[in-house]
């Protein structure tokens, strides 16, 4: 496409609205308008210039702020819908039927619909991900579309602008002053004192400050893109590990998700706040709420398997002892092990007596290790007990057989065969907590003597190489927003025109009121023409209470 040559001699790219150098309006639209659109300096943006091919259409779609805001709004609304009912991961169910049943039972037809529309797993749904993808695309395209032309035109701008540019600024003033030279000199000095960068060109001043803040939005958008990329990387194996394991006191096991590492749980402690240590301060709260937990701690030892050791062989090297607390994960080799959950007092061992029912005499005792029960217990005096059946989590009889609903010893039940010198062929007995069943009347019985319990720690193992990327994204975003929002890009043009009048114009990308305050201070020092702000309607009505004399 052809370049546009301005009267001042500068060649502008096709599509330019205001000459990059002198600011003369070039397009019909700019020539007709009272106040020119200064947002991107009237530069040539691809999206405003090329509109025919399919690539142009996609580019223009994503570079539109209207579309960008619509995408933001769509993400916002979808996120809000996701909070109406609990999301999938907070629901105690595992199967589709289970979820359906849960949502229907609690929330009726609406709940059913919520499940069926997929809203119950909103944030993992494909269309939520598509929305986020569109958001990212839009951020990238919209930024590129603007930042390059903006950069070029800010770099090329000339100090002396064409009067038609000055007159089309939102803040503009024109008039005669007593001594133009002196006014310009004073203004230059004062503007420098106000930390403007001042450039002069025979009778014209361009004062500019904080141009860097114009790059803020683009920096923050880069931060957002880094962040979103970090989130995407978690899909790649090796970047992200998220596992959970239960570790009983006394147990030593391979750490799930961290090959080569082994963890021993030495002790789990739950501590509550006590009245004494809390003194008067927390007294009232403790009375009201009962117990309040103070800490959950798992004392562990971390081991590393020797390099090259055969799997299963016990060649462990101790790495360290550590007390894992909530908010204080165990850290090693990029992994974090968090204290997430606990169960108190799980049954570990149960001890029984074998007794003669009529004499109540004991023939000896034996201990069943519930996590690894033996088949036969020899009581030493010619009596043995055989374990015929073990049901760790007994839940009644199903199909004529005792039924265990899980491998966790919550409610252990056993079928024992008691072989005694009297009854060498053996007697059978079904033993559960507070319950004994016999097929026929027995002479001997198994009596519960004691139980030993232990605590279990619920641990989560995480490795997240993307965290640093996310953190970097956050940091860049913060730099960008602060850069763009805590400073404003302001420019003041003052020049003498060919007839000897003084023209003054000013522009800022935001906070016009503060700019006007600066101009008022400037006018206190230098004799400059009065100006108007053509977008403050109240300025046109000086009779308005409270507004007169504030800034002219």
């Amino acid at each position: 496409m052809s370049k546009i040559k301005c009267q001042c001699g500068h060649e502008n790219p096709y599509g330019t609205e205001l000459c990059e150098k002198c600011g003369r309006p070039l397009s019909e639209k700019a020539k007709k308008s009272d106040i020119v659109d200064m947002r991107y300096e009237g530069s040539s943006r691809r999206s405003q210039t090329y509109k025919s091919s399919i690539v142009d259409k996609i580019w223009n779609f994503f570079s539109s702020v209207k579309i960008g805001v619509s995408i933001i709004a769509a993400v916002l609304i979808a996120s809000a819908i996701g909070t109406i009912f609990p999301q999938k991961f907070y629901v105690p169910a595992t199967t589709p039927e289970g979820y359906l049943e849960y949502y229907e039972r609690l929330y009726g037809t609406v709940g059913k619909l919520y499940y069926e529309l997929g809203f119950y797993d909103m944030y993992n749904s494909w269309w939520f991900k598509v929305l986020v993808g569109m958001l990212a695309t839009s951020i990238i395209i919209a930024s590129i579309d603007r930042v390059i032309p903006l950069y070029k035109s800010l770099k090329k701008q000339r100090t002396r602008r064409h009067p038609s540019f000055m007159k089309r600024q939102r803040i503009f003033g024109e008039g005669d002053v007593r001594n133009t030279k002196e006014s310009l000199a004073k203004a230059e000095e004062k503007l420098k004192a106000m930390r403007y960068n001042v450039k002069t060109e025979n009778g014209a001043i361009l004062a500019e400050k904080n141009r860097f803040s114009r790059w803020g939005p683009y920096v923050n958008h880069v931060g957002l893109i880094i962040f979103i990329s970090g989130v995407l990387l978690r899909g790649i194996p090796g970047f992200y590990v998220d596992e959970a394991m239960w570790l009983r006191e006394g147990e030593t096991r391979n750490i799930v998700g961290a090959p080569g590492y082994v963890l021993e749980n030495k002790k789990f402690t739950l501590e509550n706040y006590t009245k004494e240590e809390a003194e008067e301060v927390f007294g009232e709260a403790l009375d009201k709420n009962g117990m309040i937990a103070k800490s959950y701690t798992t004392d562990v030892t971390l081991y590393k398997q020797d390099e090259g050791a055969l799997p299963g062989s016990e060649s462990l090297k101790k790495v360290k002892d550590y007390a894992i607390n909530v908010n204080k994960p165990l850290k090693f080799d990029g992994y974090n092990v968090f204290q997430m959950d606990y169960k108190l007092d799980e049954l570990k061992n149960m001890t029984f007596h074998l007794v003669n029912k009529s004499s109540e005499e004991s023939l000896g005792e034996f201990t069943v290790n519930l996590s690894d029960p033996a088949k036969v217990y020899d009581l030493g005096n010619g009596s043995t007990v055989n374990m015929l059946g073990f049901y760790p989590d007994y839940d009644g009889i199903k199909d004529g057989e005792p039924y265990s609903k899980s491998p966790v010893p919550n409610n252990p039940a056993f079928i024992f065969q008691m072989n005694t010198p009297d009854k060498p062929e053996g007697e059978k007995s079904f033993v559960a907590i507070r319950q004994t069943l016999e097929v026929e009347e027995n002479d001997y019985a198994i009596k519960f003597a004691a139980a030993e319990t232990r605590n279990i720690s619920g641990l989560t193992i995480r490795k997240d190489k993307t965290l640093y990327i996310l953190l970097l994204g956050g940091l860049v975003f913060m730099i960008g927003v602060i850069q763009g929002m805590y400073w404003q890009h302001r420019r003041v043009w003052i020049q003498e025109d060919t007839e000897g009048h003084l023209l003054i114009a000013a522009h800022t990308n935001k906070n016009w009121f503060s700019l006007r305050k600066e101009l008022d201070t400037l006018r206190e020092t230098a004799d400059l023409p009065a100006y108007i702000d053509r977008q403050d309607p109240e300025l046109d009505k000086p009779e308005q209470e409270g507004d007169e004399e504030i800034w002219t």
Partner: protein
Amino acid sequence: MDLVTISSNLLFVSFVAYLVATLFFGGAIKKSKTEKAYHNSKWGTIGLVITIIGFLSHLGYFITRWAASGHAPLSNMFEFTTAFGMMLVGAFIMLYIIYRTPSLGLFALPVAIIIISYATMFPTEVTPLIPALQSKWLFIHVITTVIGESILAISAIAGLVFLVKNIDLTKKSKSRFWIEAVMYTLVLVLGFVVSSTTFNVMNYEAEFTYIDKDQAPAEITYHIPPLFGMNEYEAMTPEKMTPWVELPPIINAQKLSSLVWSIAIGSVLYVLLRLIARKPLAAVFQPLAKKANSQLMDEIGYRAVLIGFPVFTLGALIFAMIWAHEAWSRFWGWDPKEVWALITWLFYAAFLHLRLSKGWEGKKSAWLAVIGFVIIMFNLIAVNLIIAGLHSYA
């Protein structure tokens, strides 16, 4: 006096200071014809000084309570909301120093007063921290969020001044309806304060057993007369009022009763105020807002968002993620409270884009600022009370 008592006395002092300062600001506006005149008005200067005294006393409350409990007082609804009120005043003082505007104080302080009153309706005793909350990141995250939110709230207050001034209240219109709805909502908060205080003073208690949503038996004590009953409730104190209807298990009938009481009493209050004033409440405040410059209010509103947005991002998203990673092992869990922080953030991002690129200034921008405040309040109040998640303090 022990520290806890000193602390609550200091809070009371600041409460009174804000009330008195409001009167001075009001007086100042009445006395001076213009904003400019107000700048030099003794009334206004006194108002500002009293506000600063109140703020310092409020800060004193915060520090002494911290000293007493050993942790930053930001761990329950009372503490969080009180801190929000404090930071709102702090943000007002900051913007006052930048723009020296009078009208803002007259609207900002009453909102702060309402927020503090609201806070004191929650249990105020000092509670020890459960393990998940024992982290320095908790403090850093919450305090930054509160500061960010209160700066953002100032933009809503500037928006309110702008709207009260610029909406034509003599003609029926959508804007007139909605601005009055905002006033009505503020009165409803007072209704909540009045109803809770009344039944509290009466020492009202009614106990019930019920079946919760996991089909387990549970108990509950109402401190207000039960309009609604919990799922399959049975009264343990039958001499007290019988609920009108029983509600399904997903609804907390106690909280709903309290809400309905607040609305009822708030509405009565509103009707009384209307009868006394004989015009919409917005019209009562209009003469006070008239002296504000619209451009200036618009800019303060925008400036507050510009300052508050980065602070909010840092506190509610970045620090929140760091803390969540330490405490819950994941930096983001789609917990309702987190999601609503994200929604707030997206909303203000949309606001900034609309303003910068679509030129949404003046009324549109003021309405957006008010809506933003509604979202913040929704996250503070409704998400905690209705959609309980990990963060639910109550």
